[in-house]
Symmetry: D2
Subunit: 380 residues, 4 copies
C-alpha cells in the first residue's frame, strides 16, 4: 500500500486545477511508493479557496500561507501563485523543511532564483519546477533520441510559442485573472510566461545557451489596470524574439507573442541534426515529426509518429490506453508528479529542479537585458 | 453538496478502467446534482478484481454479479464484460431496479437487444450504452451544425474504422485479453466492435439507415484458441465493408478492418451536404475539419478547427483547460457520465439508450446477413 | 536529331489542351528518338479549331476527321472527343494505319471496346489510352514498391474520386462544355469519367478485379438540356460506390461523386499490405504517404514523401527541377507521351493499351450492371 | 497575331532552363501582344551552349556576351550567370538599349546595384529581376488580401528558407555547378541565395524593413575548391538568421540554412494581422493557409485554400486547368514573363524592377554587416 504524501496547495487558478488534477489521478495509473493526499488548499480569499477545496476534495483550507508551512501534516508545498510571490514562499517552505513544487518561471529574476536555490539546497528538500512540457510523451521521446545520438551533430534549434489573446486593446491588465499582464506581478510578459517554457525544453534537449540577442515589443502601450481602474502604461513585453548560440555550436531562434492571430497555444520546436531532424507542436501534442536521413533515399520523408501507437516503447504510454488513443495536455502534469514521487522514494533529485530552472532564468534575464541594451548578451 | 450515486462495476478490463476513470473525475470538472461513488467492483476472479478495486478505490468487491445486484447500496450497474454476457446481466439488473450503463454493442443480436430494451423500459430504469464517440467535442459540434441545418441536404456519409493489430497469424483467439477474436464471446468481429461505433454516430448525425449491402472477410482462417490451446477455425469477420441508403436519401459507405497496416484506431467520418461538409478523425480527435461553401469563393478551404479554442462555444470545453490545450480519448467517457447524471437528476433519458443502441444492432445484424446472403438487406 | 512524329489532334477542349501541351513540351525535357510535331488539329467547328490551332501552333486544320485520317503526313491520331465517338474514329484510324492515343474511357461499353481492340491489334498500330494518373511520379513510385514486394500480401485497396461541381440544379446537361452530363454522349456519369481512372490505377497496382457490387444515384433528376433547351431527365449516375474482390484476395472499396462539397478533384487511393501501406491524394499529387512496419517500433509513422526530393530515384523527376520543387497535373501527360514515344522507338507496346483499358471497361460495365440489378456481378 | 520579342539568353544552367521554359510556354496560355522568340543562347563553352540551344530551340548561339549585345535582332537579354557577372553585363545591356531580365540577387552588393539601377534608368529600358515567388498564385493571393486590408494592422512577419544539401563536408565549393558555395562568385551564401527571396517577398507584402540584427554561421569551415583542387577556407555563410523591424511597426524574423536535414526547399512565410493571418509553404505551393478572426467563433480554424479551386478569382489560375488540378514551381516563371510582356506592351514598369531589387540588396548588405559587427544595423 502506497504511503501518503500530503500536499499543501497555495493558489487555486488554472494551474492550481492542473496540478491538483495530477495529484488526484497519478495513483490510478502509476504504481508508486507514495500517493499524494490533498491535505490543504491555501489562499487569501476564504470563500474562493473553500469552494476550490470542496470542488477538488482538499481536506482543509488555510488563508495564510505561513500557517500552512507551520503545519506538521504537510509534506510538500505547491506554489501556484503569481511570480512575484515565489521567492518568499519558497524560501520559507524550504526553511520549514517542506518539499516544494513551484510553478514556473522560478522567480522574477536570477538574483531571486539564486536565493531560492540556496535555500532548498541548504534545507536539502526535494524541489521541482513545473516546466511540464518535458513530460509530454512526444517531447520525452525526442529527448531519448537526441541522447542516443540519433541526430548526430546539431546545427539548428528553433522554437515558437504563439498566442493571440491580448490583441484587443480592451483587455485590462492586472488582477486575479490577468496578473500575467501586470509587470509587477509577472516580472515580464511573454518572456517569462511562454519563452521560459521554450528555453527550458531547449536546454534539456540541446544543452546550455551561450549568448543571446533579443528584441521585444509592446504593441498595446496602455491598458486599464484592473486593480486601480485607471489607464496605465503596460510594462510587459507583448512579443519577444531572440537569436542565440548554444554551447554545442548550434544556432537557436526563439519567438513568442500574444499577437499571432489564429494561434492559441502554438508551442512548436524543431531541431535539425546531421543525421535526423525532429519537430513537435503543442496543438497536436500526441505526435512527433521525425526525419531520418538513413532511410532509403527514395523513401525518405517526415514521419508523423502518433506517440500512442507502441505503448511499450513510447514514454509513459504503457500507463494509459490502447494504441491510437490520444492523451492530452493535462497528462504532462500527471507524469511530472509520478516522476517526482519516484524521485522522493529513491532519494534522487528529479528535474527540472530549482537549479535547472535557474539556468532558464539566466537566459530570460539575458534576453530582457539584450532587448533593452540592443546588444548581444552572454548568459551568466 | 452533490448526492452520491453508487456504482457497481462488472468487469475490470480496458473499458473497466476507462469507465472508472470517468466516474472518478467527473465531479472535479462538472457541477452536478449527483456524484458517482465507486461502491463495488465485481468479477469472477477474486484476486484480479481485488487488485483492480484497490488500484481505483472501489470500496468493496464481489465475485458473483447476482450478489452485486442484490445489494441495496448499488444504484447503478456498469456492464463491462464480453458481449455474450450483456443480455442476462442487463435484464437481471433492470429487474433489480438498477440504472444500467452497458458497454457496446448492446447485445449479440437484435433478438437479445429487444429483450433488453423491453426489460429496462418495463423497469423504468435509466439506461445508456457506451457509444462514447458522440461525446468527443468535435463530434458533438458536428451534431450541432447538422441539426442547425448548416450542411443543408445531405448527399454522402462515409466512415472507416481501421486497425492493424491482428495481422500476425500468431495472435491467438479467445481468453481474457482476446475475447474480441472469439466469435462465441463477441458475436462478430469488426462489425460489432468497430463498425457499431461508426453506425451509432452515423444514425445520430444523419438519421436512420434503410438498407445495406455488405461484404466480410476473414483473412486468417485459423488461430490457436487461448482457452483450448488448439488451432481452431476463426469465426469472426476480420474486415467488413458495406454500402447503404439512409432514410434521408443520402448514400453511405462504411469500412472496418484489423488489417490496415499503419492505422491503430483510425475512426474517420465525413459528411457532405449541399452547403457544407464535415470530416473528423479519431487520431486527432480534438480537431474538426469543416468546409463552408458560403465562404467567399477565392477564400474557400477546409478549416481545421481546434475544438479547444473557443471554450464558451465548443461543447464541453468550458469545463477543461484554456484555449489551445487538447483533451484526449478518455474525456469522452467523462462527458457521457456527466450527461447521464444530469439526465438522472432531471428524470429524462439520455442517449444512446438501449433503444437507440438497438437501432445500431439492427444495422449490424443486417450487415452480417447481407454479407452472408450476398444481397441487399432492409434494416428492420 | 530526333525524328518527327506527326500528330493529328481531334478535339480542342480541356483534354485537347492538356495533350497538346504534352506534345509540345516533351522534347525539351526528355531525350527521345522521336519528337512530336503538331501537324493538324481537327474539329467540326472551323472557327474554333482554327483559333485552337493558332494558339498552340498546329500547322493545319481539318473539319472532317475522315480527311485527317486520309492524310499521309499524319503518323498518330489523338482522339479527344466525347466517348460516343471513340469507337468509330479509332477503328477508322487503325484501318488507316495510324498510331492512336485515345482519351479515356476507351469506349461506351465493353462491346465497343472489343471492336476497338480487335481493330488496333489487326492493324498492328501502337495504341494507348490517356489514363494519365499512372504517370504521376508518386503513383509510379507506388507501383515500383508494390512490384518489389515491399507491401507483402495485400489486404485492402480503397479509392475515391470526389468532386462538387454539379450540386446546383441550375447546371444544364449536354452541349460542348457539359457533354459529360449527357448520357448519350458520355455513356455514364461518374463511373466512366472518374471511377474509370480509379479502376485503371487499381488494376495496374493491385491486379484484376473479380466481382463487384455497386450502387449509383442521380441526385438531381432533371436538368435543362443545352442542345434542346428543355428540361429533361438526367440519365447519368451522379454518384457511384462499389465493393469488390480483387483476384489476389484483397478487398476493394471505390466511391465517386460530383456532390462532395469541398472537393474539386480529390482522387485518393490507399493500399494496405502485410508489411507496409501506401496512400496518395491528387490534391497534393507530389507527395506519397508511406508506412513501413519494418521501421523501429517507437519510430513508426506515416512518412510524407515529397516525390521531388531525390531526383535520381524518383520516377521521371531527374528530368525536371531541383529537389523540393514540385511539378503538377500536366506533367503526367508529358510523361505518358515520353513513354509512348520510347515504345514506338523500341517497337514495344506501352500501357495502358486499348487491351489494358478494356479491362477497366469491363469493370465499369459490371459496376453499372450491378447497380441496376442490385446483385454481385462477376467481371468478365 | 502577337509580335515577336527576341530573347538573348546568357547562361544555360538550372535557371537558364527555368526561364527558357517560361518563354516557350507563355504564349500557349496567355493572350499577349508580344510572344518571346528564342533568338540566341550565349555562353563561353561553345559545345555546351550549342547543346543547350539545340535542346530548347534557340535559333543561334554566341560565345561572347558582348557580341550578343551588339546584335540588332535581340530585344531582351536574360542574365542567368553567377552573381559576380551581373553588374558588367547589365550595364552593358542597358547601354545597348536591351530590355533586361536579370537573375536574382541583383548584384554582389548595394554599390553594384546602384550602378545597375542608374544604368537601366538612364537607358530607359524595361528591367525586371527573377524573384519569381511573387507570382506563385498563393503568394499573389496573399498580396491581394493584404492590400485589401483583410489582415488589418500587421504584428508579425516570419519567413524561413531551409535546405539540407551541403551538410556533407565532401561537397566541394566552386565551379560550374557549385558556384553558389564560392564566395567570389556568389558574394554570400544563403543570404543572397535564399534569404534574398524571403526579403523580396516580405517587402512586397509587408513594406520596407528599417533595421536588422543578424547572425551567420559557416558550419563546414573548409572544402575542396573545384577550380583549384585544393582544400580552401569557405567564405560563404551556411546559415543566417535575423531579427528586424518593418517600417509599419511589425516585427520580422528570418532564417535560412543549408543544414536543415529533411528540408529540400522549405520556403515558408507567415504574417499575423489584427484580423487575419496567412501562411504559405513552397513545398505545397498550391495551397494558402488563412485564418479569419471574423469567422463565427466556434467555427474558426485555419483554412487550407487549394489555390486552383476557383479559377476566376485565383490569380493566374484561369489560364491553366480545371479546379483542383495543381500547377508547380515552373509556372511562377511563366507568370513573370506574362506580366513582363504585358508591361512592355503598356509601357509600364513591372516589379520587381532593378530598383525594387535594390531594396532587397540593401537589406542583405545590412544583414551581413550586422552579422559581422554584432550590432543592429539600419537599412539604408
Amino acid at each position: 500500500m502506497a504511503k501518503p504524501l500530503n500536499i499543501g496547495m497555495i493558489g487555486y487558478g488554472f494551474m492550481g486545477r492542473a496540478h491538483t488534477n495530477a495529484y488526484k489521478r497519478v495513483s490510478d495509473f502509476f504504481s508508486l511508493e507514495y500517493r499524494p493526499v490533498l491535505k490543504a488548499a491555501c489562499a487569501r480569499d476564504k470563500e474562493k479557496v473553500t469552494a476550490f477545496a470542496e470542488n477538488w476534495g482538499y481536506e482543509s483550507v488555510e488563508t495564510d500561507w505561513r500557517k500552512l508551512l507551520e503545519r506538521s501534516d504537510i509534506d510538500a508545498v505547491d506554489i501556484c501563485v503569481p511570480n512575484n510571490l515565489h521567492k518568499e514562499m519558497a524560501i520559507a517552505a524550504a526553511e520549514a523543511g517542506k518539499m516544494i513544487l513551484c510553478e514556473k518561471p522560478l522567480a522574477m529574476n536570477v538574483a531571486e532564483g539564486e536565493e531560492m536555490c540556496a535555500a532548498v539546497e541548504k534545507a536539502g528538500v526535494p524541489n521541482i519546477v513545473w516546466y511540464n512540457y518535458r513530460r509530454v510523451p512526444a517531447v520525452t521521446l525526442a529527448k531519448r533520441l537526441i541522447d542516443e545520438g540519433k541526430l548526430g551533430r546539431i546545427f539548428h534549434y528553433r522554437a515558437n510559442f504563439l498566442q493571440d489573446w491580448t490583441i484587443s486593446a480592451d483587455v485590462p491588465q492586472g488582477g486575479a485573472a490577468l496578473w500575467r499582464l501586470d509587470v509587477d506581478a509577472a516580472g515580464s510578459g511573454v518572456t517569462g510566461d511562454l519563452l521560459a517554457h521554450c528555453i527550458d525544453t531547449a536546454i534539456w534537449l540541446n544543452g546550455g545557451i551561450q549568448d543571446v540577442n533579443a528584441m521585444t515589443e509592446t504593441f498595446v502601450k496602455e491598458r486599464v489596470h484592473a486593480l486601480t481602474g485607471k489607464v496605465q502604461k503596460v510594462g510587459i513585453d507583448d512579443a519577444c524574439a531572440f537569436l542565440c548560440h548554444f554551447q554545442n555550436g548550434s544556432l537557436g531562434l526563439f519567438e513568442s507573442t500574444r499577437y499571432a492571430r489564429g494561434h492559441k497555444a502554438l508551442y512548436t520546436l524543431e531541431i535539425n541534426g546531421e543525421n535526423a531532424s525532429i519537430a513537435w507542436d503543442l496543438h497536436d501534442l500526441h505526435r512527433l515529426s521525425y526525419f531520418d536521413h538513413s532511410d532509403e533515399g527514395r523513401l525518405r520523408g517526415w514521419r508523423s509518429i502518433h506517440v500512442t501507437d507502441h505503448g511499450g516503447d513510447h514514454p509513459y504510454m504503457d500507463k494509459w490506453w490502447v494504441p491510437g488513443l490520444q492523451i492530452g495536455y493535462e497528462h504532462s502534469f500527471v507524469h511530472q508528479v509520478a516522476d517526482f514521487l519516484e524521485g522522493v522514494a529513491k532519494g534522487t533529485p528529479v528535474g527540472p529542479t530549482f537549479r535547472d530552472a535557474l539556468e532558464t532564468q539566466k537566459v530570460c534575464d539575458a534576453v530582457l537585458q539584450s532587448a533593452h541594451s540592443r546588444q548581444w548578451v552572454d548568459v551568466n
